[in-house]
Amino acid sequence: MSSTLILVLAASFLFGGMVLLLTMGYLETEQKRALEAQQQQAEAAQQPAAIVAMPGFFAAPHANPPSTLVVFDDAMVNRLEHHVRLEQALVAQFVHHPSLDNLYRHQTTPVHAH
């Protein structure tokens, strides 16, 4: 009788321990999932900034918007030609007297597509 009682108690203890371990494991897994979800959200929030900060290969950070947004009208042609004329005027001295100073004179009117 007492041996049966001991056996039942031992079995109950083992079963209770197993249930406790499973419960703790489940809780730990849920905590990990919640933590990972938080990290992913935080990374997702940072991603646009990282893309913006990523240096372009040919395009400088201050480059013009994509050409699809540019309306190539007569005003744009005038702006381009004005820019070319100014740039040519700035390098004209370099053509006749090549020097660093003449090459890198400040450009005052960058072309922007508005």
Binding site: M76, V84, H106
Partner: protein, 162 residues
């Protein structure tokens, strides 16, 4: 026509008799405003000297599928257009369009080469003038390209060095 040839930068330093020889092979072309003398990529058969008006040298630029000619240089009387006719591969690298009613004096390559063959001094002077034009164009575009390169890779762009 003699005075126009004498005033042309390409024929600078030629004697009266040599100018006479060139006048014999030159032909006058009249251009209306907006009319093209040649297009980029065309076979270059004529070298021309602007005698009146103004001719724009243009380069086609494409934005969003729309292509328009942008004037990169304007030349007036005495200036040369179409020197590609004297340099291989004999293709125009820009288009030439009359900015106003203009006249040019055109010299066909075969006739010009005949003159060169019979009078090497004309050849020397003319090709010397073409070399100068080419060198100026090359230097100008080199400078423009260097500035553009700096502008692309430096956030500040070309800066004042003086």
């Amino acid at each position: 026509m003699h005075d126009q040839i004498r005033a042309a930068e390409l024929f600078k330093g030629l004697s009266a008799s040599r100018i006479q020889r060139l006048a014999a092979i030159g032909r006058t072309l009249t251009l209306r405003t907006g009319e093209y003398l040649f297009l980029l990529g065309d076979s270059a058969q004529y070298v021309s000297v602007v005698t009146s008006g103004q001719v724009d040298l243009c380069c086609p630029i494409s934005f969003g599928g729309v292509v328009k000619d942008i004037t990169v240089e304007s030349v007036g009387p005495g200036k040369t257009v179409g020197w590609s006719a004297l340099v291989k591969p004999f293709r125009f690298t820009l288009s030439a369009r009359a900015a106003q009613a203009s006249e040019v004096m055109a010299f066909a390559r075969p006739e010009l080469l005949q003159v060169f063959e019979t009078d090497p001094e004309i050849e020397r002077l003319v090709l010397g003038g073409v070399s100068e034009l080419m060198a100026n164009r090359l230097t100008m575009f080199q400078a423009l390209w260097m500035r553009e390169l700096l502008r692309t890779f430096s956030p500040d762009g070309p800066h004042e060095t003086a």
